[in-house]
């Protein structure tokens, strides 16, 4: 206030020479002189701008999820040198597991015949690791010494359906004469087996082919043909005999021998099929390995390369084709390829687009902090309003009326004051969890609960203040002048309680923000997808997050700390400013 000059000099004792400040101005001046209070004010202004205006400027929403594509080498296929016989069966032939086991044993022992489940089999080696298997049915037996002379009657029939015909007998004798133990009649092969005293006439049936090689056709349509017994048998025979040509079904294929494998070429020089001793199996069931891939992978395995590239038709944008890497573990060759996967960018590191990085759900932390700040501050304000409402009403009533009412209300306050806060709040949180209260309504209930549990402090202060004010002279004066009760309360009592209330509310705000943050941190307060500073910090309960992603929790904690500090600074400054006893 400036000294006004109103005509002539002012006398020394003129009241207008004295600087007069209204009580409000006095408080404001004291407050502004307090450096801590100003610091607190600046912090609070920053926080409010950050939370309420920040959301308008950030390009993201609080529930935007960001994805990232990662290129990772994933297992694509597994390769292995085939070490066991694989069977290609003739049409209609039956070769049981027991027979296969017997065959494997026989191969090991070097004996060409074996029996399984009452059936006799014989194999003949046609290649290094390839065998032709035939089954035998014993048809008839004849004493060796009688074999060449006796008629059909000398044969003891062993198979019920078998009839010893004349032509068969002739063929049998012809074979004996020629010294052969195998003959053909009407397209069926028979063999004569010498069992010492007896000769057994057996009917031969083709069973299949056992080989360590695996066939793959270039075209999908040829797969059936290439893997059929009729095709494989002559092919294997030709391959093991070192022939360079192989004819089947009127087509003459040429055979190209590679290390451990054979390539089958059509007459025009294009690839038709491949025989190899390396099995390749895809890693996932959806994948179908292409012929090109198989051929290249096999070549790479044989040549002990650690990687190979394949000009891939599907992904033409990748230059130089797809790269595959081979790593060997014991007998397995793992073939890995770069595969793109679209992932939620969980805990993405800070970048220009996301200054504070992303959280566990791939959401922008800075944006979540802004929206979370709104919730944290709003919860603080709403709760303090509820507390003020209940506190002033009950405290005021108790203080103003005194006596019995005061006594009763004070016991009520005592009751609320002694309810253990944390147990009740925790139970309440657990109840809301079990009832699956939706996140938005949850905040509402939380505010109600904190307000209902927290008003006692304010009620006590209001009561105490009013009790003491009631007895003071100015109130008696107000009563004497005949002012109405309403006017007495609101014009004379309330303004005197206001300073304390403002201080209490400011300090209380910080407290409530802390409580809400603690609850949300424990997972019992504000829940996803809503956020508050406490719930953002909640991710730190995962120790891995705490150890590796500082940006997921340090900013949120700092914001809480500074906001509460700001409220406390301002509250402290207000307390000093309102206190008339202060000497400053």
């Amino acid at each position: 206030m400036t000294i006004e000059k109103q005509g002539g000099e002012l006398a020394l004792d003129d009241a207008r020479r004295v600087k007069v400040l209204s009580p409000g101005m006095l408080v404001a001046k004291r407050f502004l002189r307090n450096r801590l209070a100003i610091t607190g004010m600046i912090i609070l202004i920053f926080m409010f701008t950050f939370a309420f205006l920040g959301g308008l400027f950030t390009p993201y929403k609080q529930t935007d999820v960001f994805y990232t594509t990662e290129i990772v080498f994933q297992n694509y296929a597994t390769g292995q040198y085939n070490m066991e016989l694989r069977y290609t069966l003739a049409e209609g032939a039956d070769f049981s597991q027991k027979a296969r086991a017997a065959m494997a044993l026989a191969v090991k022992d070097g004996s060409e015949r074996f029996t399984a489940e009452g059936k006799s089999y014989q194999y003949s080696q046609i290649g290094e690791n390839a065998y032709e298997i035939r089954g035998y049915r014993r048809m008839a037996s004849v004493l060796t010494r009688m074999a060449d002379k006796a008629g059909a009657a000398a044969f003891q029939i062993q198979d019920q359906d078998f009839v010893m015909t004349e032509s068969l007998l002739e063929a049998f004798r012809a074979a004996r004469k020629a010294g052969e133990n195998r003959f053909e009649l009407e397209g069926v092969f028979y063999s004569i087996q010498d069992e010492g005293k007896m000769l057994v006439l057996c009917q031969e049936t083709p069973i299949g082919l056992a080989s360590m090689l695996i066939s793959d056709s270039v075209r999908e349509a040829d797969a059936e043909l290439v893997s059929s017994y009729e095709f494989r048998l002559p092919l294997e025979k030709a391959a093991s005999s070192g022939a360079s040509q192989f004819a089947f079904g009127g087509i003459s294929y040429s055979l190209k021998k590679k290390e451990g494998s054979f390539e089958l070429l059509l007459p025009d020089g294009s690839s038709f099929a491949e025989l190899s001793n390396i099995i390749l199996s895809p890693n996932s069931q959806e994948t179908v390995l292409s012929y090109e891939f198989k051929a290249a992978a096999r070549a790479a395995i044989v040549e002990k390369q650690s990687s190979f590239t394949l000009p891939s038709g599907e992904r033409e944008e990748t230059e130089g084709g797809t790269e595959y890497r081979i790593s060997r573990v014991n007998a397995n060759y793992y073939i890995r390829s770069e595969q793109e996967t679209r992932l939620m960018d969980s805990y993405g590191t800070p970048s220009r687009a996301h200054i504070l990085g992303l959280d566990g759900n791939g959401m922008d932390i800075l944006t979540r902090l802004m929206y979370g700040g709104r919730v944290s501050l709003m919860v603080g304000f709403v709760v303090i309003l509820i507390e003020l409402l209940i506190g002033v009403l009950i405290g005021g009533t108790a203080g103003y009326f005194g006596g019995f009412v005061d006594n009763l209300l004070m016991r009520f306050i005592d009751l609320f004051n002694s309810i253990p806060f944390w147990p009740l709040v925790l139970i309440f949180g657990a109840v809301m969890d079990s009832l699956r209260v939706p996140p938005y309504r949850r905040i509402f209930f939380l505010m109600m609960l904190l307000g209902v549990l927290g008003w006692t402090g304010i009620a006590r202060i209001v009561r105490g203040q009013i009790l003491s004010l009631r007895e003071q002279d100015f109130m008696i004066a107000a009563e004497c002048t005949g002012l109405s009760i309403h006017r007495r309360i609101f014009r004379h009592l309330v303004p005197n309680v206001m300073p304390l209330l403002i201080v209490e509310a400011t300090m209380g705000l910080g407290d409530i923000i802390l409580t809400e943050a603690t609850l949300s941190f424990l997972g019992l307060g504000v829940k996803y997808p809503m956020s508050s500073w406490g719930s953002i910090l909640n991710s730190v309960n995962d120790i891995y997050v705490m150890m590796h992603y500082w940006y997921a929790w340090i900013p949120a904690g700092t914001l809480i700390l500074f906001t509460v500090l700001g409220f406390n600074f301002v509250g402290d400054g207000l307390r000093d400013a309102f206190d008339p006893k202060m000497k400053r």
Binding site: P423, M547, G557, L561
Partner: protein, 331 residues
């Protein structure tokens, strides 16, 4: 005096009764999944010898815990046993509630007593210094420090401590009361090990509690320093140290002692969050787990325990006030 105490005791009992009723009503809103689980287990165990079915077990257990009745009759059923000291079996821990309580209360007591002593050692000198040099740089620094202590969220402080001292420096373990090799150590090293594990919780609790006590001491000291008898003491030429220690500080003890008796209940409940954060097996951690998993007997016991403690501490504060301040006479 005695009349006052009896009156306060009766009021206290009413408050304890109503308070535990409120807690009981809220906790009964929790689904009783624990009882259902238990019934299922017992039914599965007994099925081989032709025991009771799940439904029979469920009914029996509900009856035992008074869950088949409404909230009020259920509460009275609980109360009837509780006044005889029978708080039932804890659902979560499978022992009687009181047994579990005896097992874990020591840990919390040690933790809080050490914290409390540390707080006293730090706060009272700080508060006195701040009051003596009001509005000096020191006062500002102490005020900022105290307000920082009040404003630091416990969980953030605990996490920061863990991050710095466990993750970065690796000095102490992150969780628990005992280390991995605890049972191989001799008694002395066991004590050291427990001490090391208590370090971070104690620091957390101390820092969190510093602010309140420091500011309380400062405010009261300021009030005393403005009193006439201090001016008299100074006027008669006493050295400043004597004025402070003899005349001023002794008088601040009156509100301090009452303040401390208010702190008693918080010694048993205040460390709940901290114990949970560091997984210190004290009463706070134990009851946090019990509450969150809906263990009604344990929660009821713990809440009642706190209610009783609060009432006793209020009574104690009033009595202490009369004891330390000869001017006060309670009628």
């Amino acid at each position: 005096m005695w009349k006052f105490i009896v009156k306060r005791l009766i009021q206290g009992i009413v408050i304890i009764f109503l308070g535990s009723l409120i807690i009981y009503a809220v906790i009964r809103c929790l689904p009783t999944s624990f009882v259902e689980d238990m019934a299922r287990q017992r039914a599965a165990q007994a099925s081989s010898v032709g025991g009771k079915s799940y439904q029979e077990w469920l009914n029996q257990l509900n009856q035992v815990y008074g869950l088949d009745r409404g909230i009020l009759p259920g509460f009275f059923a609980w109360l009837r046993k509780a006044v005889r000291g029978d708080f039932g079996d804890s659902w979560k821990y499978n022992v009687t509630v009181t047994e579990k309580f005896h097992e874990v209360i020591g840990c919390t007591l040690y933790l809080n007593i050490v914290t409390f002593l540390l707080e006293l050692l730090i706060c009272i000198p700080l508060g006195i210094t701040a009051a003596r040099k009001q509005y000096s740089r020191t006062d500002y620094a102490i005020t900022v420090f105290a307000l920082l202590g009040i404003s630091l969220p416990t969980f953030f402080l605990a996490t920061l401590l863990k991050y710095v001292f466990s993750v970065r420096l690796g000095w102490v373990d992150m969780y628990g009361l005992v280390g991995r090799n605890f049972y191989k150590m001799d008694a002395f090293h066991q004590l050291l090990d427990m001490g090391a594990h208590m370090l971070m919780p104690v620091v957390t609790l101390t820092i969190a509690g510093l602010g309140g006590l420091t500011r309380f001491t400062r405010t009261n000291m300021l009030e005393v320093l403005n009193a006439d008898y201090i001016r008299t003491a100074r006027a008669k030429g006493l050295p400043e140290s004597r004025v402070i220690s003899r005349h001023a500080f002794r008088n601040t003890l009156i509100p301090l002692v009452t303040y401390m008796s208010y702190l008693i209940p918080s010694m048993f409940s205040g460390s709940m969050i901290t114990e949970q954060l560091f997984q210190i097996p004290g009463i706070g951690y134990t009851s946090y787990q019990a509450i969150v998993s809906g263990d009604i007997p344990f929660t009821m016991f713990y809440s009642t325990f706190l209610l009783i403690l609060t009432q006793l501490s209020l009574l104690l504060a009033d009595i202490m006030y009369a004891v330390v301040d000869p001017r006060v006479r309670i009628h």
